[in-house]
Amino acid sequence: MAELDPVIHADARLRAMSALNTLGLHESIAFPKLREILGMTAGNLSTHLRKLEDAGYITVQKLIEGRSPATYVGITATGVAAFEAYKKQLLELL
């Protein structure tokens, strides 16, 4: 059996992927709201999101909302496929 995707198979990134997958494709969430959902520190979440972004699983978009900068995070089609494959493998292991 193939090894579980190491990019996803770490608690913080797994929870981030699960949250973004629940949000759905073509949807994105503000960084503070995602941080609140996951109960992580900003630094910790940023580190893990960078790793997921490098793998092409998520997109991080910086934009201006009103007059303030805002960061929105969303899952990509590659990310959805990787997460589905991960869940399938995980269920096969149990």
């Binding site: 579980l4 198979h9 608690d11 994105s28 709201k33 609140e36 959902i37 630094g43």
Partner: protein
């Protein structure tokens, strides 16, 4: 003995410092300990449930609010129409409208609050759905005025019966449309039930429709609320979608 105690304290403090430092730096996510598959699945489900609770309004509470609104609104109308409440029918209508507005406001605020800080297709879908409700009820309000003028000589119950059937027509269709937009089967069932209830109210006639809605409406909403609670609990405790 004091030296032993001192060594213990020093060693213990050092351990705490190491643990705290490890927790605070969070520099290398790749160095996290490997997850047990069962723990990974639990973590995944928990994150999905927390996310859902954060980005979706609490539908169960909304349905319970509407159950109370229907019970109070139609209950007041029934009491005024059949004389078991010392209230004029017109006053009951006004109070019913205030209750309706309060329930609409609660629903709108819950929807807006849950969709804040979210961008994407769902934002437009939610906004369009909310506007459709408003458009539908604007027509119901205009229809109410027109039909009240047209049937000025009729008993208030007859006018109310007709206005109610148009209002519930909108409710049934909007729930079914919402089910199609959001892929919510229980919402579709609720729409179907309200359409059936509407048919029953129309067939039953002007003197019986209030009783049907005062009883049937709250029952449907409470059933829908309980269904949502059960579904949410099932999702958070377990099955991967």
């Amino acid at each position: 003995m004091f030296a032993d105690a001192s060594r213990f304290v020093t060693r213990h403090t050092a351990t705490i410092h190491r643990r705290t430092a490890a927790r605070n730096t969070n520099q290398s996510p790749t160095e996290e300990p490997a997850l047990d598959p069962r723990a990974a699945l639990a973590s995944l489900n928990q994150a999905a449930a927390t996310t859902r609770a954060s980005i979706e309004p609490n539908t169960a509470v909304i349905y319970f609010v509407w159950a109370a609104a229907y019970l109070l609104g139609y209950g007041l109308l029934h009491g005024a129409a059949f004389g078991w409440l010392p209230l004029a029918y017109g006053t009951a209508l006004v109070i019913g409208a205030v209750i309706l507005l309060a329930a609409i406001t609660y629903t709108a605020v819950a929807g807006i609050r849950s969709s804040s800080q979210i961008r994407g297709d769902s934002t437009f879908a939610g906004m369009a759905y909310g506007m459709s409700w408003m458009g539908g009820f604007l027509i119901v309000a205009l229809f109410s005025i027109v039909i009240s003028r047209l049937l000025a000589d009729e008993h208030l119950l007859v006018t109310g019966w007709l206005i109610n059937s148009v209002a519930i027509l909108v409710v049934g269709i909007m729930y079914m449309a919402g089910a199609a937009i959001f892929g919510d089967r229980s919402m579709f069932l609720l729409g179907v039930c309200f359409t059936v209830l509407n048919a029953a109210g129309l067939i039953a006639g002007a003197s019986a429709f209030i009783s049907i809605f005062a009883i049937g409406g709250p029952i449907l909403f409470v059933a829908a609320g309980i269904t949502m609670l059960v579904l949410r609990r099932r999702e958070s405790s377990g099955t991967v979608k």
